[in-house]
Symmetry: D2
């Protein structure tokens, strides 16, 4: 059994880790920390876990995390970078669900996250935890930077086309939509039910942290200079993410060849479902599951390709992907404990 601790268990990625890990056959939950909730049984805060998780939250200073095999950080940006060095030194693997190690470039990190990076030495070693694009590196990683939710959809949609040099890398557009849980479990007016229900809006159109992450990764994975317009929107639903990607084809290629490209790219990817050409994937087909589904469209058979990508932002977009990385890091089957069928309706 893998001994697992979670730092920061009171947010949505934390409770989602608990939902998934509590029934993972090879995991033993060891500790869940929370500065504020020390001593509170986890199931008192999240009654869905009654009878499933019997631990209480522990104050960070009351737990010796070095006795775990792996620590998940489901914390705000800045926490993992402070604790990772000591844990790694003690032989504990670290998976950060925040952004501390997502950007290789320290200056870019500090520009977008407005905090100094206290642990730049680890930036190069940190492995970007997107197994479909770098499974071998994940397997050998000590420190995982779990991808952002939006970037997961954009990379899995654009990379096959970029690698095959089929599209104009300087004219990528991603019009993306997320459920409200992506904003986290924080007391804020903007994400109150009465503010975000029966409503739709864009946000951060002039600049969002997931743009530099995605651009940097697209460049790393493909070697191409990339220009991306990324427009996130807020959908009145709890979970779910839908990215509508627009790419300009630069080559003469048939729809069948495009479909074949995606199917062959992801033929061994248990969690990427390439749907038939012209399908309209729905976010609910992934609700609560670790699946990402995508489909290609080519309006009017012109030179614009539209790629529709859906996932559950809390699973494949966060906690599920983190566990997928953990499985690989510990030599387990990638899908272990992640076989949940999406909840439909």
């Amino acid at each position: 059994m893998i001994k697992v601790s979670i730092v920061g268990g009171t947010g949505y990625t934390g409770v989602e880790l608990l939902r998934l890990l509590s029934v993972h056959p090879d995991v033993e939950l060891t500790a869940i920390t929370s500065r504020k909730e020390d001593g509170l049984p986890v199931a008192d805060m999240f009654p869905s876990l009654r009878g499933k998780v019997n631990l209480a939250f522990s104050a960070p200073d009351k737990v010796d995390l070095t006795k775990c095999d792996v620590v998940f950080f489901a914390t705000p940006h800045g926490v993992a970078m402070a604790q990772a060095p000591a844990l790694l030194a003690a032989g504990v693997k670290v998976i950060d669900l925040a952004a501390d190690f997502r950007l290789k470039d320290q200056a870019t990190f500090e520009q977008w996250y407005k905090i100094p990076h206290t642990c730049p030495d680890l930036l190069e070693e940190a492995v970007y935890g997107l197994p479909e694009l770098n499974r071998e590196a994940v397997k050998n990683a000590r420190l995982i930077a779990n991808p952002g939710c939006y970037p997961t959809t954009m990379q899995l949609g654009f990379v096959p086309l970029l690698k095959a040099n089929l599209i104009d890398a300087s004219a990528l557009i991603a019009d993306a939509k997320s459920g409200v849980s992506g904003a986290g479990r924080k007391a804020e007016i903007g994400t109150l039910f009465s503010e975000s229900s029966d409503n739709f809006k864009a946000y951060g159109v002039s600049g969002h942290r997931h743009t530099p992450e995605t651009v940097a990764q697209l460049q790393r994975f493909t070697g191409l200079p990339v220009n991306l317009i990324f427009t996130p929107h807020l959908v009145p639903m709890i979970r779910g993410m839908h990215s509508t990607l627009y790419a300009r084809l630069t080559t003469d290629i048939s729809n069948e060849e495009l479909q074949e490209l995606f199917e062959s790219t992801y033929k061994d990817a248990a969690f990427v479902d390439v749907m038939p050409f012209g399908s309209h994937p729905e976010t609910r087909s992934t609700r609560g599951s670790n699946m990402l589904r995508l489909a290609l469209h080519r309006p009017n058979n012109g030179n614009t390709l539209v790629i529709l990508v859906v996932q559950d932002n809390l699973v494949k977009g966060a906690s599920g992907q983190a566990i997928q990385c953990m499985n690989l890091m510990f030599g387990l089957h990638e899908t272990l404990g992640l076989q949940q069928v999406a909840l439909l309706p």
Copy 2:
């Protein structure tokens, strides 16, 4: 492996059976019938099942259901009664998720369901599939009448009090609220998103089919004459049921004793969670899981007891409960394949 077929797989209880059975370790899905959708891959209708269920729907006349071990009827009222006799004669167990065998009294059935009962001989044998109240009968059953969703909550809330003779059986009130999936997957204006979202209403206040079912069962389980006011309401949520039960205490009893009564009644019930006195269970704490949670309140320490009961109407209120019965009928552990943690948020 238990060979399982589902008659009528295109509704919400059908797809929920598929979600749960597709990952049940002791089940082999054999056939899923649909008169209209013969030949259509199940996963084309429900993309959540892509990669999980590889069967196609079959027209009923193309399938030999007598080769199964058990057949679930996820059909409108009237279908199971037509097919059950032949299946039982062939040694196949039958679990009906509709109402065909819920009422022992043929006349009452025909009054409320407006169709003649074509199979009254089996009414007495049929076992009402509420394991928490009659587990032994379920174990030995050939034919299960799976309870209605509302009746499950009302019985599990009222029976302990009635059996202990603590409340006035002639003055029961159940103010119940259901998510919209309870209305089924039928093309109807009343349950369109634009009609039922951002809205709340009662329905069937002057008479609902679940009243006679509940009254008859309360009387069977307790031997007491019962009078029940049942008021169902429609909540703008997909899944979830919340019954607010009002009972008039006829005895001097402490809150501690009341709590102890419920805890001891359900101490062996894996799927009934008696929460601390004064709790407010939320429907989402059961979303996608087979748990029913309840809590007691006694406003002003007066003689009115309020019992709050929640469940997922499609799981403990329908398909999960049916599988729970199946497990018992086949000698499996009651909880097998039903350990899903509720999806929160």
Copy 3:
């Protein structure tokens, strides 16, 4: 033109006052105060008001409210009682949408609201602003205690029956359901979209502030001792309130007579719609309008009467009712500026 100011314009009752008053033909909006938002154009916070309200929020100390004709307090409990005496002394009428003057009994107020009452002298003079039950008093009032949202529905449903001595006043049950906007525009986790969407729960079952208010008013309006069980629930919708009232008939009376009682009681009430016996009013039929609709049911023709009452909690349950009072206080037609048709769908 009536010169109107609003103290505390940043909450939901505040913005609802603005929506309604900005198009009221006899009102001139003079000032909207907010301690925090001094100088911010109101329409920057509420873009729905762009082009309709050109004022900016003012810090309270920058405004001379004594130059108004009437001041609405859309503030937390405790603010109006501090400012009302000076305003009244200056000849300004006061309408408090909070609870400061709802309870005649100071001790009861302090017990439930946990703050000392700083202005008990005005408690007796304050008029409870429920025009359908005390229109003449409202007309002559200087100080209005605008009713709570739940109490409005309970009183308009129970009072006709109590006054006619038809029901057991000691056994009233109100199972009530409110949209989330009733919780106000406050940054809190419990009313986040991701917490309250796709969910249903009761709250405050063991004690809610609207119980003492309703009991006291029922007693004032009817002279009867009253016992009430009140169970509020939270519905995943923005606006709307549905109270399901249960009363035990103590007399032999026909349904036609009951219906006639309600129709005659409210024949001159422009904002109370008595629907046909056996109807199921929907909250959305009142969305954005000042209408309250109700309908009677008598299950099984027994001795339990069920009264279904719906309203928009922010209009008839708060800001619309306050304006209705203002109209009466200034000799205007009661319905002026309140003729909005409900938004359906």
Copy 4:
């Protein structure tokens, strides 16, 4: 008073016309037809109209529409074209909310709507009812083709830029999102609450009827050949439409100049609100009102311009716009009866 009839009053655009026209100061509702609901009081179907609309539906053959001044067709495609000639001949003005007269080219109409056009003679005369772009023509029209909901947002967003020759007309992208009411009040599984709540998806990506309408109109208004990628999506909200428009700037121009272009274009448009550069308009800021709001963004100050456009699809996107046209056709002030403030929250 203008005598108004509505043909087809049982859908969402019909009931929205009724909501708005029932309080329009210069309108007298004369008849509302429905083949199926002959004799049913309108307010029985739409209780929101109780006390506001006292008419019953009439079968079409029982009403003499030639006695009206104007007839609105809130019908499926194909109805208006059958009845318009006789009405026009009798001197009655006609406003069609469906697509019968939106496309000047008969072949294009028949290709996309799959029905023969029975009245091609009127195609040229019909005036496209988008007052902000052709107010004078609307004033003089006998026959109005009310624009589609999506096309309204796309034209008001793109036309100023195209007319000023600032963007590449061959590379327009519109990623648009609509509330579910856009699908109409039809019994269909796809728009059930349980199917479309807590879900997000694209639809019609490979071809949607609003593409040819928009392209044709953009070309008529600007004289430029246009290429448009249009991707509609379904949002789990009742009302509201958000179009995210992407255009490639072909000229060196400052953000201030771009903003000024929009502000000057719409300076006399009462229903178009140009928000400050970089704003994020929310659909709810238009809920129930006839306002369309838009804002410009220029990510990274690059050459891609993003225009965010919101409206209520049933008001400015349908019934409100139709009434706006009626006002102009009858010499009334354009805003008469259309001053509703959006419902927020």
